[in-house]
């Protein structure tokens, strides 16, 4: 217990100066009352800085070279697009690293949108709708189902992703019936997988799923 002669208070803890007036204390220094918690050091910051510098300078250099050689076509657009997609995916994964299901759901949605855009940029051949979306949806549905079973995740944690799963099932069906798809096999396969998993989920978890919907959408 030590004493501050300026404030006339006793001071507990391991202080050498008075917390109120910063004058030196008189008397014995006691034990610490609070743990010393080091300030957070952002350990990955350097890697991110290097990545940012590399991708930024790479993009700028490509655009520069492309401008010098205009006869080579607008290829730098693809480089810039690739860099943007790369960063969206990286940031999304880091932000959702605690939640695998959310991460998968987000990746499928964002990559699908990016690939549709890329398909459009290259000159529409329809490969994003024919192949990428049905295949990634199938993979997402299967991996969500497997992760949920293996990790024994309770309904309230995965319910919202099952609802997203239903969406994965609906989107290819919509594409199929609007005639946007020229190669039907991947889409039909995706539809079969998603309909079967949805039916199984509804049979086994229907009540829980309904409760989940009531909870998530209460006003």
């Amino acid at each position: 217990m030590s004493q501050c002669n300026q404030c006339n208070v006793t001071v507990r803890g391991d202080n050498k100066v008075c917390p109120l007036c910063q004058n030196p204390l008189i008397g014995d220094v006691g034990e610490a009352l609070y743990p010393k918690i080091p300030t957070v050091y952002r350990q990955y910051q350097l890697i991110f800085k290097i990545l940012t510098a590399l991708t930024l300078s790479g993009g700028i250099i490509c655009v520069g070279i492309n401008l010098m050689l205009p006869q080579s076509g607008y290829w730098s657009v693809f480089v810039v697009f690739g860099i943007i997609c790369f960063w969206i995916s990286i940031i999304a994964v880091i932000k959702r690293r605690g939640n695998l299901l959310k991460s998968i759901t987000f990746q499928v949605v964002s990559l699908s949108l990016m690939f549709i855009a890329l398909d459009f940029l290259i000159g529409w051949t329809g490969w994003s709708l024919n192949f990428f979306i049905p295949i990634s949806c199938t993979v997402a549905i299967l991996s969500l189902t497997i992760i949920v079973k293996v990790k024994k995740i309770p309904t309230e944690d995965y319910g919202v992703y099952l609802i997203a799963n239903l969406l994965f099932c609906i989107v290819p069906i919509v594409f199929y019936f609007t005639g946007l798809i020229s190669v039907v096999l991947p889409t039909l396969f995706c539809m079969a997988v998603s309909v079967v998993t949805c039916v199984v989920q509804i049979v086994f978890e229907g009540k829980n799923l309904w409760r989940e919907i009531v909870k998530r959408f209460h006003v």
């Binding site: 006793t10 507990r12 803890g13 202080n15 917390p19 009352l33 609070y34 309230e156 998530r216 209460h218």
Partner: protein, 415 residues
């Protein structure tokens, strides 16, 4: 399989997730210092038993499309040695955990709670139950009958909803912007915590001498301390102190969740004399008016009406968060500091093993939390600012009145 319960956030809790930002994490800490070092193993056992008595706190917060909600969970609370600064954030979007935490450091047991699940009164019941359990286990005493005077459903009752009457609410009285404390801030959104222990009888005697309650007396001292650090130009704006009021004392309720209202008292140094007597007299009158049950009731109804508004309800949560955060920040411009007195803490067993109880809360500027145990009145300042001049003026004032003050601090600037 047990079907899990879910509950809506109560009226007061609805603002907290949107308001939690930076240092203002909406987390408060209640701690109890024992006379002996804490045994982590026994504390864990005591916590397991206490947690079973309070199922209302065994929940995680989730996001719906329109509102957050509390979902009961099987997660078990785990005792840890104190590992982060006081009142750090508890709720994390990507990692859904319990909304309270029990930690210990040397002789002290800390209970930190996200304000969404409880207010200070609810937390005090939980902590005293935990401490009683711990002490009976640690000292091999047959447990005294430890019971909570409320059923599980009474504890999880949303008392705002119980008392809400949509036909009876007044219009909000617009208040002017208040003086805001300014200064260099502590790094990393940490809070400077300075706690002063003073004898209850000495403070009570002096407060009585002024004809005031302890809350009014301490609030007046706080206003005077803030006033002493104001520039002449800053004094044109009033100093406004927000005082949370436990509504359980006005409207019978056994809830362990939030049930409090806010009363604001203000003092204008540019027009008033600024003496302690004058401050006590002015704010004592304001607090008395604010505590009239009709006034508290119409405030309760006004806030509940916002929540029940159809248009407010159908706005999606992300938009709601932005709107509520903006509203919260605007309301903060009208408050200088907050003073929260959670009152006397009673334990049924083991007063000899307990040194003190303390309470403190996260804040975006300055907050004073007060509680008392036996003859020890604990006054904790949490502050965003490096400067401790207001705290110094406040405690020196008490010393000059002949009160013995004992200071402790988390020494945030040394880290």
């Amino acid at each position: 399989m047990r079907t899990k319960q879910w509950i809506r956030l109560d009226n007061a809790a609805k603002i907290f997730p949107a308001a939690a930002y930076g240092s203002d994490t909406q987390v408060f800490r209640l701690s109890c210092e024992l006379t002996e070092p804490v045994n982590a193993h026994i504390l864990q056992q005591a916590l397991n038993e206490t947690a079973a008595m309070f199922p209302v706190y065994q929940c995680v917060m989730r996001r719906g499309l329109f509102w957050y909600y509390l979902d009961s969970t099987d997660l078990k609370p785990v005792v840890r040695e104190e590992y982060k600064p006081p009142c750090s954030a508890i709720y994390c979007k990507s990692n859904k955990g319990l909304l309270y935490e029990v930690t210990y450091f040397k002789n002290r047991v800390n209970l930190e709670m996200f304000h969404v699940i409880a207010d200070g009164k609810g937390a005090a019941v939980f902590l005293t139950a935990l401490i009683t359990k711990y002490l009976t286990l640690a000292h091999g005493v047959s447990a005294p009958s430890l019971f909570i005077n409320a059923s599980h459903t009474q504890m999880s009752n949303d008392s705002f909803a119980t008392y809400y009457d949509d036909k009876n609410h007044s219009k909000a009285v617009p208040r002017p912007n208040s003086y805001k404390i300014k200064g260099a801030k502590v790094a990393e959104n940490r809070l400077k915590l300075i706690t002063g222990h003073v004898p209850v009888d000495q403070v009570l005697r002096i407060a009585k001498g002024y004809g005031a309650t302890i809350t009014v007396f301490l609030c007046a001292c706080l206003i005077k301390a803030i006033g002493s650090n104001m520039s002449v130009r800053a004094k044109r704006k009033p100093v406004v102190i927000a005082i949370p009021v436990n509504l359980r004392s006005f409207f019978p309720s056994l809830t362990a969740r939030n049930f409090f209202g806010l009363v604001h008292v203000e003092y204008d140094f540019s027009t008033e004399s600024g003496t302690l007597e004058d401050i006590i007299q002015k704010i004592g009158k304001q607090l008395k008016e604010g505590l009239e049950p009709e006034r508290l009731y119409s405030d309760l109804n006004r806030f509940s009406a916002l929540e029940h508004n159809v248009f407010a309800r159908i706005v999606p949560l992300p938009v709601k968060n932005i709107v509520m955060r903006t509203a919260y920040l605007l309301s903060r411009r009208k408050v200088t500091a907050a003073l929260s007195n959670i009152g006397i803490i009673n334990v049924s067993f083991g007063t000899d093993y307990i040194r003190s109880f303390d309470v403190c809360s996260a804040t975006d500027s300055m907050q004073v939390c007060v509680c008392s145990f036996e003859n020890c009145l604990s006054i904790s300042f949490t502050s965003r600012f490096i400067s401790a001049d207001i705290q110094q003026y406040f405690f020196r004032m008490l010393v000059q009145m002949g009160i013995a003050v004992e200071i402790s601090s988390n020494n945030v600037e040394n880290e």
